[in-house]
């Protein structure tokens, strides 16, 4: 009887089918314990995450830790049954889970001590303990579910990598979502165009006896119109100041960047990115006050209107704030421009020079267009940074009550949010309701600029450089 006939005969008797069914059954039987472990571990991780924000889940961690303990011991026996080896890692994790269980049982609901300034709830420890016990269980169960091959060892590590990623990205999204809903739940559109004013202005002049007199009136309007305009002016002015310097420095460092001076400049621009914002804030304050008692005082300190005369404000103007902000933004543009110029193939430069084109024209027609997508990206990133920077304005900014202009006191949307939190109580009372609304607007501006930066780097890069 040849092979084909034999197979068809066995198929006819139904042996193959029955055999397949038994092997599937035995597969299922073999994977019962790992599946159980997987289920317990997933439940423990979910409970740990829920218990991070709730105090009323205290009944569940101890049974789950006990279940992890039992499942790991079962897995220990099952491993010997299937693979004929003792995996003592399972026993160690099981013992660890048992110890954690005991510690959790012994713990009072509220922990104090060590003169710590807090009353700590037990659930924070139960979450941590559950995670510590459940993550190895997850890894072991996946490993033995996939028949303990080397490939299974790789796949079983995926939860360790992907779970934290999922968690942290979810945390960002939850926070942003909560801020967006908080800001948009009672949005008031007229606030966006009304400037904030809480100031007494003269409304009527008249002569009282021999002297001029005036009747003042407290003018109040609640809004963030000038803050939004101020953000725009700040972005504009900062880019006007920092773009030429940043792009020029970037091209210099890339095209002529050899020698000691260039290395010093490179080091300084890269370390300017790492210095504290407090340093820049103090620089802004000093810059605003550097021209006191000179004709430039108004331009650098900003002017306010007191009802009958313009006088220097206590802070600084848009000019001084933008000059200080460009300390932060120039390094960003320099880095991005240098990157862009360096990615230009050397052949193109040499080809251009060999054809008799001057250095200047080569820079203008070959190097600069090549780096243009990067420069645009750097510009957009710098704009986003200028829009979101508060620390630089901390000592110079005001509330934009006297308008927006080069020599007016600086203000911005980002500063408004901080001002609402730490400002004087009356201002807080007026504007507190719109704090999250301003936050959402700032978020939209910065996200828009950030997404445009990504797009310009990807799409324009492809278009300009031919893919």
């Amino acid at each position: 009887m040849n092979e084909v006939e034999e197979r068809s005969a066995s198929l006819h008797r139904g042996e193959q089918k029955v055999g397949g069914a038994t092997s599937a059954l035995s597969n299922l039987f073999n994977s019962i314990v790992p599946l159980l472990g997987l289920a317990v571990a997933v439940a423990a991780i979910m409970l740990a995450l829920v218990a991070l924000t709730r105090n009323d889940m205290e009944a569940y961690p101890v049974p789950l830790l006990a279940a992890i303990c039992v499942v790991l011991e079962l897995q220990f026996v099952d491993t010997y049954r299937q693979h004929s080896r003792w995996d003592f890692g399972l026993l160690i994790v099981s013992a660890l889970a048992f110890l954690l269980l005991l510690a959790l049982r012994a713990m009072p609901e509220y922990l104090t001590g060590l003169q710590l300034n807090a009353v700590i709830h037990r659930s924070i420890f139960s979450s941590i303990f559950l995670l510590v016990a459940a993550l190895p269980t997850l890894v072991f169960s996946t490993y033995y579910l996939l028949d303990a091959t080397p490939a299974a060892e790789d796949i079983s590590k995926y939860p360790l990598i992907l779970l934290p990623v999922l968690l942290i990205v979810a945390l960002y999204f939850i926070l942003l979502w909560k801020m967006a809903t908080q800001g948009l739940q009672a949005i008031n559109w007229s606030v966006f165009i009304t400037p904030f004013k809480d100031v007494s202005f003269p409304v009527k002049y008249y002569i009282l006896g021999d002297w001029p007199a005036w009747k003042t009136e407290q003018i109040q309007s609640i809004g963030m119109g000038n803050h939004i305009l101020g953000t725009g002016l700040l972005i504009l002015l900062t880019s006007v100041i920092s773009m030429p310097i940043g792009v020029g420095t970037g091209i210099f460092l890339s095209e002529y960047g050899e020698g000691r001076l260039a290395n010093v400049i490179r080091f300084i621009t890269s370390s300017l990115r790492a210095i504290s914002m407090l340093i820049v804030a103090l620089a802004a304050f000093s810059l605003a006050n550097a021209f006191n008692n000179t004709p430039l005082e108004g331009m650098f300190r900003g002017v306010n209107f007191s009802g009958w005369l313009w006088y220097s404000s206590t802070g600084g103007s848009y000019v001084s704030a933008s000059l200080a902000l460009s300390i932060v933004i120039i390094p960003v543009i320099v880095r991005v421009t240098e990157e862009g110029c360096r990615s230009l193939p050397q052949d193109l430069r040499e080809g251009s020079l060999a054809l008799g084109v001057s250095e200047e024209t080569t820079l203008r027609r070959i190097v600069f267009p090549w780096a243009l997508p990067n420069i645009l990206t750097g510009w957009l990133l710098g704009c986003a940074e200028a829009a979101g920077s508060v620390a630089v304005l901390l000592f110079v900014a005001g509330r934009g009550m006297y308008g927006v202009g080069l020599d007016k006191q600086v203000t911005s949307l980002a500063y408004l949010i901080f001002d609402i939190y730490y400002g004087e109580p009356t201002f807080k009372g007026y504007m507190q309701f719109y704090q999250f609304q301003a936050g959402v607007l700032l978020l939209i501006i910065t996200l828009l600029l950030g997404i445009l930066a990504i797009l310009s780097k990807d799409w324009l890069g492809k278009k300009f450089r031919g893919g």
Binding site: V165, I168, F252, I327, Y422
Partner: protein, 327 residues
């Protein structure tokens, strides 16, 4: 490199002049700090490094006390804590985008990180209220216990009405500094992981090593110099941030060093926030160029020295690791 020779064309000279402007700006910033902190330096270093600091906002204001020691302790605390929170996550994000990417996960993670990196620190500070209500209050502030019950708990410091300052603590500050520096550090770590030569990876896999083993023994040691660089920049970003610290920790800690020294449930304001508080200009008040301003400049000078120390140390470590890795 357009022209490596020393041929000083006009455009080269113009570019050199432009390139000197950032250098000049840096020198002016440093000179400004030194000049403004001369008054603080005249108090003497024992005054500046004591733990006695008084703030114009507190009830008992004793002029002439500008001890920055609590602020230094606060900076160290908040930096270590935020690094503890952020390093595992940024490492894992970088690994998920490169080694364990499942093919399609790499690009979304990169995009998300660059978008989150663009969110300004003021918005992270604004979001802190949600973490306070959802996490800090139920877990650390005993919010659903009444005062008499809290008073009976053993081991607490002398009772105060707000045991944990409900909306401000170093822990909260560290959480949000971590959220600030995770998207900053992850792309840097990702770059350094991608720069490990592909041939080493392939050699390890072809010798029968698993991917996990390759990660442990080949990729992480190879990427370690880059990871050190990323950590140093992240530390400087966390130590230099003003807004999140001022919002979630507070301005000046005027009751001495924290007790115990690592108590991160207190408001241990770091150097940046302390400097900000010393200048004043908050609560609608006018910034004053007095001794407080000078002490703030000295705090900024300390931060500058710290920044260069960290950068230098990271550079040394990177060089050492590179040499060891190549040998």
């Amino acid at each position: 490199m357009l022209n490596p020779t020393k041929n000083w064309t006009l455009v080269r000279r113009i570019l050199l002049v432009i390139a000197c402007i950032p250098l000049l700006m840096f020198l002016m910033v440093v000179a400004n700090l030194l000049w403004n902190s001369r008054l603080a330096l005249s108090f003497g270093l024992p005054v500046l490094f004591s733990d006695k600091i008084s703030t114009a906002l507190s009830a008992k204001w004793i002029p002439g006390q500008f001890g920055l020691l609590p602020a230094i302790v606060g900076t160290i605390q908040v930096v270590i804590l935020s690094l503890l929170f952020s390093l595992p996550f940024s490492l894992v994000l970088a690994l998920a985008a490169s080694e364990y990417s499942l093919g399609w996960l790499s690009r979304p993670i990169e995009l998300l990180m660059s978008i989150f990196n663009g969110i300004p620190d003021i918005l992270y500070a604004l979001m802190s209220v949600f973490v306070v209500t959802a996490f800090i209050r139920p877990k650390f502030a005993a919010i659903d216990l009444d005062d008499s019950l809290i008073r009976t708990l053993p081991g607490l410091p002398p009772y105060s009405s707000t045991m944990l300052p409900l909306n401000q603590s170093t822990l909260l500050g560290a959480i949000f500094l971590a959220l600030l520096i995770i998207p900053f550090m992850a792309p840097l770590i990702l770059d350094s992981i991608r720069n490990v030569p592909q041939s080493q990876r392939e050699a390890s896999i072809s010798l029968g090593a698993t991917r996990w083993f390759t990660l442990q023994r080949i990729i992480l040691p190879g990427a370690m110099p880059g990871i050190i660089g990323a950590i140093s920049l992240g530390v400087l970003k966390a130590a230099g941030d003003v807004i999140i610290c001022a919002w979630t920790i507070g301005f000046i800690k005027d009751n001495g060093l924290p007790n115990p020294l690592w108590d991160f449930f207190e408001r241990n304001a770091p150097l940046t926030a302390t400097g900000t508080g010393l200048v004043g200009g908050l609560f609608g008040a006018t910034p004053v160029m007095g001794p407080g301003f000078s002490a703030a400049n000295f705090a900024a000078l300390l931060l500058l020295v710290f920044a260069f120390a960290v950068l230098g140390l990271a550079g040394l470590m990177r060089r050492w690791l590179n040499r060891r890795y190549k040998a």
